[in-house]
């Protein structure tokens, strides 16, 4: 069934044709200027909004709006719904699948100025904040009160919380703290008619009806614009310990993961993989050095979070002694200061940046059962036979591989073959073609893979309820035509 579906996809023409939406006119611009102020209706120098950060995906939009509140957002969307103007919603524009940038001339609605309200309830650990807050800034503010954002990702210095919700962001500590579903309590979303929806609330427990706020998670702007988020935040750990292990085989990596789970238990917070090729790529494209002398085939970055430094160090030491004693790891290094820890994380978090500098890049973000996790990388290397370079890094603890392929310049032949090959492999081995990055425009053609007809139909119906004129983020995750 899967092979048949994929062959259908392979031969289908790229159906990104512009929909029947209005083109923005000067009277539209006047309306926007009156609604949010002339300074916040941008028509010049908007390259950073019209393309993604890899500059591989670019649209032809001519207007960016920067509302500062839920109300301003509502009046914009209401107007666009009436006039049938297509809108793409953009937060920090750090997405990896081109979900936040236009395909054609969609109006770009940036949430970057919606950041007035930030309220923490310290005794319950409940935070309400506007969608435009940058994740790192929100985290710094929480630090002053002994709290921490439950998610962390490489893009934290630029990504916004509204975008995190819409993308269903995962990150480097999902292993410990769980996904956004574990933390979201409520949100405010402006739907495709301009209606302000206040979903959920501030309570940890409320079983009075459907948990509608959770529909926003991973909705990729299809149902509405998230303008405010209410979520649980976690106590800031008093002890953070980081270490890197050098490992010679993938099967040893998995054994180390089991050992970490049993010996570190509740303090295990991150378990990340960087493969040997990726580390070499990082060293050659960035001014960053490996923490190990010599190169190895696999590197693991392990972090613990806890409330008692001595207790955690004791556990980490025992774990490390066993890992080295049983020769599961060839070498290991511990971070002894914040600088050393930051350096280790830069190696992992800047891997995507190094890969992007390595050539024309094809990014994959897949979930696989652990026994198949690395075989995908090996088989992709075999298939390419030197036509491109293959890198693998990711959240090994979550079974989430960020497979990246780079070529010198765009290879049209490879482009047509690579995605079907990887996605077919992933689905036939019981995995997901998008673990955390989402569908956006990049994986649009494969969005129905693995979904039943009834689920797809339900999703289209929900889209119709929230966005009856299909003006929100068209040409992407949900189409009303399938």
């Amino acid at each position: 069934y899967i092979k048949m579906r994929l062959s259908i996809i392979r031969t289908a023409t790229n159906s990104f044709a512009r929909g029947n939406y209005a083109r923005i006119s000067s009277s539209d611009l006047s309306f926007f200027e009156k609604a949010i102020g002339k300074d916040y209706v941008k028509t010049k120098e908007i390259e950073n909004y019209t393309s993604d950060w890899t500059r591989q995906m670019k649209g032809s939009s001519e207007c960016v709006l920067l509302p500062s509140s839920t109300e301003e957002t509502s009046s914009i969307i209401k107007y666009c719904a009436e006039k049938r103007i297509a809108v793409v919603v953009q937060g920090g524009n750090t997405g990896l699948v081109g979900g936040a940038t236009p395909i054609h001339d969609e109006l770009i609605l940036s949430t970057g100025r919606i950041k007035n309200n930030f309220h923490l309830e310290p005794s319950s650990g409940v935070l309400t904040l506007d969608a435009g807050f940058i994740l790192a800034d929100a985290d710094n503010r929480l630090a002053e009160h002994g709290f921490m954002m439950p998610l962390d990702l490489g893009a934290k210095g630029s990504c916004q919380i509204g975008g995190c919700i819409a993308a269903g962001a995962g990150g480097i500590r999902l292993l410990r703290y769980g996904s956004l579903h574990s933390h979201l309590l409520g949100c405010t979303m402006v739907d495709g008619k301009g209606t302000i929806l206040n979903l959920g609330g501030r309570l940890r427990k409320d079983n009075t009806s459907l948990h509608t706020a959770h529909l926003a998670i991973g909705s990729e702007g299809q149902l509405g614009v998230v303008t405010s988020v209410t979520m649980g935040v976690v106590p800031r750990p008093l002890s953070i310990l980081s270490a890197m292990l050098a490992v010679s085989s993938y099967s040893d990596c998995i054994r180390i993961l089991s050992l970490a789970r049993s010996k570190l238990g509740e303090i295990l917070s991150s378990f990340e993989l960087i493969d040997g090729e990726t580390m070499k790529c990082v060293e050659s494209h960035l001014p960053l050095k490996n923490v190990f002398q010599g190169s190895h085939d696999f590197y693991l970055l392990i972090e613990t979070h806890g409330s008692n430094g001595d207790h955690d160090a004791e556990k980490l030491n025992q774990f490390v002694e066993e890992a080295l004693g049983m020769e599961l790891a060839v070498d290991g290094v511990a971070a002894n200061s914040e600088n050393e820890r930051a350096h280790m994380w830069r190696l992992r978090e800047e891997s995507p940046i190094a890969a992007a500098k390595d050539g024309y890049i094809y990014k994959f973000d897949v979930s696989l059962p652990l026994e198949h996790f690395y075989r995908l990388t090996e088989e992709t290397r075999d298939k390419l036979k030197g036509r491109g370079r293959v890198y693998c890094y990711g959240h090994l603890g979550d079974g989430n591989s960020h497979l990246n392929v780079t070529t010198d310049g765009e290879d049209e032949e490879l482009k047509k073959e690579l995605s079907p090959f990887v996605y077919n492999w992933v689905v036939s081995h019981g995995g997901s073609i998008s673990a955390e990055h989402g569908i956006g425009q990049l994986k649009r053609d494969y969005r129905s893979l693995g979904k039943s007809a009834s689920e797809s139909s339900l999703i289209r119906s929900l889209k119709g309820v929230f966005d009856p004129h299909s003006i929100l983020c068209p040409y992407k995750m949900i189409s009303t035509q399938d």
Binding site: D331, G332, V333, N336, E338
Partner: protein, 254 residues
């Protein structure tokens, strides 16, 4: 050549330091501490000399409360062979001054021959930059401070120093005092096998009182306060607006 390396436990360089409400100092409770970055560089240099066979033994030294042992263990994991902890009660630890540390170093050297004392150029908490010079004066040893390059030369050390005017290269005869500046080297990470081996390396503890080291403070901190909040800047649209603003603020004559 036997090298004694001084290491100090300080608030981690990356921590955002905050002043105590009573203004007597900065908050150190519950805050991440680590080895003073310049001391780490000094230690790395000593260990490098040992690896080049120019030094035979590297001994790490720290003076302070019980938690000093953490940085001494790190030093052992990063290549020191032995560690010495001169302990003072926690209450006195925060009032220790460079002169007390210099006196402690003198006591250690009296009982045990060393050919060099390596230190970081200054500690990042008090920025005193005194211990190196004080111990050199007390022992009447030559000093090579702010070293950015060290070359052993028989009974001498050839040291390149970073000074305001550029680079200054000197030759000092051993025994000598050396202080490390930022660009001397890049400290290594403590490998996990070495961290485990470090647990078996000797860590000697002596109390300052038993050694007869006088730790009476000579200075008293009157007040610690935050620097003034930086005023927000403003944007101007063009050069004439800039000129007007500069005139308004009295930076250029009208």
């Amino acid at each position: 050549m036997r090298v004694l390396v001084g290491v100090k436990r300080v608030v981690d360089y990356a921590v955002k330091v905050r002043v105590k409400p009573d203004k007597t100092g900065v908050i150190t409770e519950g805050v991440q501490h680590s080895i003073n970055p310049f001391d780490e560089i000094a230690l790395e240099e000593a260990v490098k000399l040992k690896e080049k066979k120019a030094a035979t033994e590297v001994v790490a030294f720290s003076m302070g409360g019980p938690k000093c042992q953490e940085v001494l263990r790190t030093a052992l994991a990063k290549g020191a062979d032995k560690a010495i902890h001169i302990e003072v009660p926690d209450a006195d630890a925060s009032k220790l001054e460079p002169l007390h540390v210099a006196r402690a170093l003198k006591k250690i050297i009296e009982n045990d021959k060393f050919d060099a004392v390596f230190l970081g150029k200054q500690a990042i908490d008090d920025d005193a930059n005194q211990t190196g010079s004080l111990i050199a004066g007390i022992l009447d040893w030559p000093q090579a401070l702010y070293a950015s390059k060290v070359e052993p030369d028989g009974k001498y050390l050839k040291v390149t120093r970073e000074i305001d005017g550029g680079l200054d290269t000197i030759k000092v005869s051993l025994p000598a005092v050396l202080s490390a500046d930022l660009r001397l080297n890049e400290p290594r990470y403590a490998t996990l096998p070495n961290i485990m081996k470090a647990k078996k390396k000797p860590l000697e503890k002596k109390s300052a009182k038993d050694l007869g080291i006088d730790v009476t403070p000579q200075t008293k901190v009157l007040e610690v306060s935050e620097p003034p909040v930086r005023q927000a800047g403003g944007f101007v649209d063009d050069v004439s607006a800039l000129i007007t603003k500069l005139k308004e603020k009295g930076f250029i004559k009208a």
